[in-house]
Symmetry: C2
Subunit: 204 residues, 2 copies
């Protein structure tokens, strides 16, 4: 059997289409017909490659979760000084989300409805380990290098500042009266703005 180029493989077309639909509409909002249409094939063919909707969805979810969670460890596990970690995390994470703007909201929605513990199990294998970072913050506070702050609060601040604007994009666009181009510029600026803001807040 001769295969066509990988990116035109039917299975890949389905995955690509499914990703697009599921990330925006979620499991219950997506239709197998929509996915088939987006892939330019027949609905039955989707079932031929992936037994059922749930299988297809979990394939996508697993793939995306493996993209999302390990990136968090950038800030947890590197061996840099605190300020450097913060700078690297913000730049890398915002860049990542610029490429996948729907990913954070999708993942958070799935965690919120993870009734069968599918994601919980993925998480337990790709466990983020914030312990080192939290202790690092604690140490800096004790040394008096940075202002007193609960390590958990600082961690939440960093993640919030990087992720939230993407989830709120439609609201921000409207409230600030900006278009997609302007939004992207704001996010590009945030790659340095967020670390600057945080460091100004904690530096003595």
């Amino acid at each position: 059997m001769v295969k066509s180029a990988p990116d035109t493989e039917t299975s890949d077309k389905i995955l690509q289409a499914a990703r697009k639909i599921f990330l925006v509409k979620g499991m219950s909002g997506a239709r197998m017909q929509d996915i088939a249409d987006a892939a330019g094939i027949n609905k039955a063919l989707v079932h031929y490659y992936f037994r059922n909707k749930e299988t297809l969805f979990k394939t996508i979810l697993l793939e995306e979760a493996k993209k999302f969670f390990p990136k968090l460890n950038l800030v947890f596990e590197s061996d840099q000084p605190l300020f450097t970690k913060i700078e690297q995390f913000a730049a890398a994470y915002i860049d990542e989300i610029l490429e996948n703007p729907f990913l954070p909201l999708f993942i958070i929605n799935q965690i919120n409805q993870d009734t069968d513990h599918f994601l919980r199990d993925i998480l337990s294998r790709n466990q983020p380990r914030p312990h080192a970072l939290l202790r690092q913050i604690e140490t800096e506070v004790k040394k008096g290098t940075i202002r007193p702050i609960a390590p958990e609060q600082l961690l939440m601040n960093l993640v919030s500042l990087c992720i939230f604007p993407f989830m709120a994009k439609p609201m921000l666009n409207r409230t600030l009266g900006i278009n997609d181009k302007k939004f992207r510029e704001l996010m590009e600026a945030r790659k340095t703005e967020v670390p600057r803001f945080i460091i100004a807040a904690i530096k003595k």
Copy 2:
């Protein structure tokens, strides 16, 4: 016709049940049967009071949107000095979300799928007006009272720091190894921690 107490009225029971279900599961994930069960009545009765699922959903959505958006104007329209505004907003908004933890994610999800522009039209009537706040920040920067920062960035920072942790709660609980009680304590602390953090970042 004699009415029972308002909170035991059938229509109110339905709305209360529908709110609980829709806020967690969304429009497509919710079942009319679930709502009927939660209200302790028959499924047909839901259709008697609200013609169909869409009508019921939009009733809830309208109600919740009217709760959510005007609260944003707390930070936009009050006549206080900048630092006071920030303090008041964080305290009031975090308190509000502590009472309605599912509200932000619900609203943001709806905005993201607002294909029929239902929410867009609500928004255009309850328009948040950030202009005054943005100019206020700009003025302070020019006066040299606070460090240079783009007004839009500061606004995004404030909103992000208040809202995001609630949306990411299940992830935070797991990553930080905390329970609901501890999470609530962290959020209570944030009511003063967020303003302190922001002011430290921008104060000269």
